[in-house]
């Protein structure tokens, strides 16, 4: 709240940008990937690394990318792989890229295309990796379909294993893969959040009548999902009881755009919004529990403000946030004007 000058700023992105992703597979460094969104210029993907002293952000690699990047995800088991959903004028596609060996020089070598996800009838919205570790499946989501790809990195091929259409009524905008169950993926659209079983490609569960903009599984507790909704803020759901959320957070002054659980401290939730702020929330421990009886007795007394901090040092809407999985007390945020800010939440961590 004190002017937000605590963050480490990276100003290397020259264009507007929406996407930032944590490079999970990089065990040695805290690094992030950020992709720009420029309609007319040549877009870039930046590999940003936090210097060992944690004092500055260094551009480790800069790669030109064809088309503006609407979605970016780093491969959780190979730091040199990442997926990107891009659009260029009317064309739209999704590709897994391989970052070339850098050998010290940073004269932006071309990215190597590993796999391209072709055959989508609609606009691809996002590519999902199994978030925990090595898995040979990748999911791609377009506005109306769900594709499960079987990926072979060494042979550089991806085959459609199964696909399912969710119908024309829903415009899917993204998805989240359940880290506790590799057969379940949640896809969300304007009006609902739907859970799909990948084995049968059937809808197993759904939360209706919510305007989900983003959703994130709790990485430490099964069945718990946080959703970011345009006007109505943030809701926390237990998927076993999809009729009503077990907790809600006020969200942002305008739309709540993105939401992420901290990979280690599952009570910490980060959200970003179009009111140019990033909010750090602390959900009460009971709520993220199985939320049965004991939460009832506690909820009236717990008048603690769930908002731990609001980072307001942004000029524009913040669309991208990512926790560092290597350093769970750090997160990177990306505002639309292309500014990457890495903040530490150490002072807000719950004391053990």
């Amino acid at each position: 709240m004190q002017g937000g000058s605590t963050g480490i700023v990276y100003g290397g992105l020259k264009y507007q940008a929406r996407c930032i992703a944590d490079v999970k597979a990089d065990a040695n460094n805290t690094s992030f990937l950020a992709g720009t969104l420029s309609l007319k210029e040549e877009n870039e993907v930046h590999l940003i690394r936090l210097s060992p002293s944690a004092a500055e952000l260094v551009c480790e690699g800069l790669f030109y990318h064809p088309g503006e990047i609407w979605d970016l995800a780093s491969c959780p088991f190979d730091s040199r792989l990442f997926s990107a959903v891009f659009a260029s004028g009317e064309t739209n596609g999704a590709v897994i890229w391989k970052i070339p060996e850098l050998y010290g020089q940073s004269n932006s070598p071309p990215l190597e295309q590993l796999v391209s996800f072709d055959g989508h009838p609609c606009k691809i919205r996002s590519i999902l990796w199994w978030p925990i570790g090595k898995h040979d499946k990748v999911i791609s989501i377009d506005e109306q379909n769900l594709f499960l790809w079987s990926l072979d990195c060494s042979r550089k091929i991806a085959e459609v294993q199964s696909q399912e259409s969710v119908g024309v009524l829903h415009h899917l905008s993204g998805g989240a893969w359940d880290p506790h169950d590799r057969n379940t993926v949640a896809a969300f659209c304007d009006s609902s959040l739907q859970c799909w079983d990948l084995r049968t490609m059937k809808k197993t569960n759904s939360i209706e009548l919510v305007h989900v903009r983003d959703a994130d599984y709790n990485p430490n507790k099964q069945h718990i999902v946080a959703t970011a909704e345009d006007e109505t803020g943030i809701h926390l759901w237990d998927l076993r009881m999809p009729n009503f959320p077990f907790s809600e957070l006020p969200g942002h002054a305008h739309w709540t755009w993105a939401i992420r659980h901290n990979p280690q401290y599952d009570q910490l939730i980060l959200s970003s919004g179009t009111d140019s702020t990033v909010n750090l929330w602390l959900t009460s421990s009971n709520n993220s529990d199985d939320s049965t009886s004991e939460s009832q007795s506690d909820s009236p007394t717990q008048k603690m403000d769930p908002l731990l901090n609001s980072y307001t040092d942004y000029e524009n809407s913040v669309y991208g946030i990512a926790w560092s999985s290597r350093e769970p007390s750090m997160f990177a945020s990306l505002s639309y004007d292309g500014r990457v800010v890495v903040e530490s939440v150490k002072s807000y961590l719950p004391r053990k």
């Binding site: 309609l39 415009h171 009548l209 006007e231 907790s247 002054a253 179009t274 709520n287 939320s291 009236p300």
Partner: protein, 770 residues
């Protein structure tokens, strides 16, 4: 002799001195022979009489301290004293010698007298022995006659007893006639052992007849017992007598108590009937209670061991009466009537208490009336809550449309009135509970005060909860079960939310202070609650509650409204393929919907909230001139320039422009004014448009369409919102966003925009004029 003693004769001198001292001991203290000596010698002169007198020291002192003349004088004096002492001594010796001689004479005479006495004594002994033998002789001769006399005496007594028994029936009869039942019983009991012993044989007749008489006595006694007209003492006596006759009194008692119970039951039925028909039930009740207490009193005296049962009866009576009152509370009893009833019971209780203090009736009735009053107070509060919520939701179910516009206001007014009037009525009502100079109430005064305060506290909390529930914003976890069904299904009316917001404000700002005042005026004190809880009614807390509630209601209202607008906007911006957009022909119709929605908001809000803008008039006038010029020249200039420039520098430029512009506070705090709410909604809507545009990729026509729509929106929005700068800024943001997201951003020419806007305006007017 003593004076010329030499020092070796010390032993002898001491003895002499002692003898002298014992003789003169009394005389010395009174006479004080040596006193005339000079006062400086007191110590030494004293020591002349003391046992530790040392003649040498005395001499030394005398010689040293006295002159010759004094010494001579002393010598003369001393010599005289010695002479005196010698004569005294001589006299003493003579006296003692005389006494000794007379004593010897007396002893000699006694010896002579005693010699003749022995013979007389022997004579006396003989005489005594003869007397004894004679008396023995008389005794033996009289013995036989005495026995006979005793026997005769016994027979006479026995005969007298038999006579008594034979007379018994007659005597009993006489007793009955004279109503001396006590005597009768005494006689009968006296005769009883005889009857028991010989009743079978010789006195059979007598026994039967007297028993018959006794039966009559018992009957009479019973009659006496049962008759209420007899004095209580007589009845009590009858019971005692009956008991003496081994009559089963317990049965009698039980029978009588049963009768009493029946009487009570009747009494209950009666009072219940009374209670239903009218509240003025004191008259008949009072009479019967007096009667009842009299009976109780009598019974207590009559049957001293029947208290337990009586206590039970009395307690039962009063608990039943409190029950009837409780029942009547549910029928919305006024506090006067309640107090009347309570007072009534209390007076009965005190009446009973005089008779039956062991029943602890005051304690029980205090307890019971405490329960009754508490129930009454809570009942009153829940009725109030119901009343308010009816006032609130009542009109909402009435017809919609134009009527609803009226009803929003009336709903607010009526519910305001309901809150304040209801609370005041409640207070007034409760004050009746206190005003009474009624013993029971004075005991409970503090408690009542606490209850009232607590009641208000709880009432407002419940009201707040109720409000939240009406908004569907009730704490989800708490009402999990209810929420599961009604959470989403319930469609909350936006107007109601606004009414709630205003009502909360009203409660916080006027109702609470007024109620606090009232409470302070008549319900202060209390303090029976332990101090850790503080006073029961905490206006500050309630105010805080409602303040936060009212702002959250506003927030909910805004959320609900913007949600509606958002869906509208999303439909508009997500659906078309903007890359293949056709050339703009006219202003898109979504602006109409948007404006209509905003006007709807304005109309709704205006009904209930103050406009909150003092310089409103002034503003509209001043903006009038700039309104006509369609667009900000600076911005137009910038856009036209940027056409030729690269997009990147344009981005930079817009950033720079933003830096120099004062940072717009888009998301300001919401105030309770029409202006604040409407402008917040407009701002949020425009921001939404911007976000939605940023998600799209536009072709030139798409961009132009948005440009056109935004241009059109400019004037009507400025009419709605008076903060022109913010609107300008946000609209510019939208066009900038569209510009950025456009593949080929060439804006429409100003005249074309003008033309299209005019066409739209004309078209909009047409249906109105039609």
């Amino acid at each position: 002799m003593a004076t010329d003693n030499a020092p070796p004769m010390d032993e002898k001198a001491k003895r002499t001195r002692e003898l002298l001292a014992s003789f003169y001991s009394t005389e010395a203290s009174t006479a004080g022979r040596a006193v005339p000596v000079s006062p400086s010698r007191v110590a030494t002169l004293d020591s002349i009489n003391s046992p530790s007198f040392d003649p040498d020291v005395y001499m030394n002192l005398l010689i040293r301290k006295t002159n010759l003349e004094g010494l001579l004088h002393k010598h003369v004096e001393m010599a005289a004293e010695i002479k005196n002492l010698d004569t005294d001594l001589q006299m003493l010796v003579y006296e003692n010698y005389n006494k000794f001689i007379s004593a010897t004479d007396t002893i000699k005479r006694m010896k002579n007298n005693i010699v003749g006495m022995e013979a007389n004594m022997e004579q006396l002994l003989e005489k005594i022995i003869s007397v004894q033998s004679k008396s023995d002789g008389v005794d033996t001769s009289l013995f036989a006659k005495r026995e006979k006399i005793e026997k005769l005496h016994r027979t006479r007594n026995f005969l007298r007893k038999i006579q008594f028994i034979y007379d018994l029936p007659g005597r009993l009869q006489k007793c009955i006639e004279s109503e001396a039942y006590a005597d009768a019983v005494r006689f009968f009991i006296g005769a009883k052992p005889i009857f028991e012993a010989y009743g079978g044989s010789s006195f059979q007749e007598c026994k039967i007849s007297s028993e018959e008489t006794m039966k009559l006595v018992i009957e009479n006694l019973k009659g006496k017992l049962y008759s209420d007209t007899e004095p209580i003492e007589a009845r009590a006596e009858a019971v005692v007598l009956l008991k003496q006759l081994n009559f089963p009194v317990e049965d009698l008692k039980n029978k009588m108590l049963d009768k009493l119970e029946d009487f009570l039951l009747d009494f209950h039925k009666e009072s219940k009937r009374m209670g239903i028909t009218n509240t003025e039930l004191d008259e008949p009740n009072g009479a019967s209670i007096a009667e009842f207490s009299k009976t109780i009193n009598a019974y207590r005296i009559i049957f001293p061991d029947s208290e337990r049962r009586l206590i039970e009866l009395a307690q039962d009576l009063f608990t039943k009466r409190y029950e009837t009152i409780q029942q009547r509370i549910t029928e919305q009893l006024s506090s006067e009537a309640l107090m009347l009833a309570l007072r009534d019971i209390w007076s009965d209780v005190s009446l009973m208490d005089q008779v039956l203090p062991e029943a602890a009736l005051p304690v029980i009735s205090l307890e019971a009336s405490r329960g009754v009053i508490k129930k009454y107070i809570t009942g009153a509060f829940s009725a109030l809550l119901r009343y308010v919520s009816e006032a609130l939701t009542g009109p909402q179910t009435s017809p919609k449309g134009t009527e609803e516009q009226r009803t929003l206001q009336t709903a607010l007014e009526s519910s305001k009135k309901a809150v304040i009037q209801g609370s005041m009525d409640c207070l007034l009502d409760f004050r009746h509970l206190l005003d009474d100079t009624f013993e029971l109430v004075t005991k409970m005064r503090d408690l009542i005060v606490d209850w009232v305060q607590e009641g208000f506290q709880d009432f407002f909390k419940a009201l707040n909860r109720h409000f939240l529930m009406l908004c569907g914003k009730i704490d989800i976890i708490k009402n999990r079960v209810n929420a599961a069904e009604g959470f989403r299904a319930e469609k909350v009316q936006t107007g109601l939310v606004l009414v709630l917001a205003q009502l909360s404000i009203f409660i916080e700002q006027s109702a609470i202070p007024r109620i606090t005042e009232e409470i302070a005026a008549s319900f202060s004190g209390g303090g029976l609650r332990s101090y850790e809880y503080g006073p029961a009614f905490v206006p500050g807390e309630i105010c805080r509650l409602f303040r936060s509630a009212s702002s959250s209601f506003l927030q909910i209202y805004i959320t609900m409204r913007t949600q509606k607008i958002s869906t509208l906007l999303k439909k508009r911006f997500m659906a078309p393929n903007w890359i293949k957009h056709k050339e703009p022909r006219e202003v898109h119709m979504f602006v109409d919907l948007l404006l209509q929605e905003l006007h709807g908001v304005g109309a709704e809000v205006r009904q209930l909230l103050p406009s909150g803008l003092t310089q409103r008039h002034h503003r509209t006038e001043s903006t009038g001139s700039t309104n006509s010029s369609r667009s900000n020249p600076l911005r137009e200039d910038k856009i036209s320039r940027s056409n030729t420039q690269r997009a990147r520098s344009q981005l930079l430029e817009s950033h720079l422009a933003k830096l120099f512009e004062q940072k717009m506070e888009i998301f300001t705090k919401i105030e309770h004014t029409e202006e604040s709410i409407v402008s917040t909604i407009v701002k949020l809507s425009l921001k939404s448009i911007q976000e939605l545009v940023q998600l799209q990729t536009l072709n030139r026509s798409g961009y132009q369409q948005i440009q056109l729509d935004i241009e059109f929106l400019k004037n009507p929005l400025k009419e709605i919102v008076h903060d022109e700068a913010v609107i300008d800024f946000l609209l510019k943001e939208v066009t900038n966003a569209a510009h950025e997201r456009c593949l080929d951003p060439i804006p429409l020419e100003a005249p074309i925009i003008d033309k299209l806007i005019q066409a739209k305006l004309v078209k909009n007017k047409e249906p109105n004029s039609r």
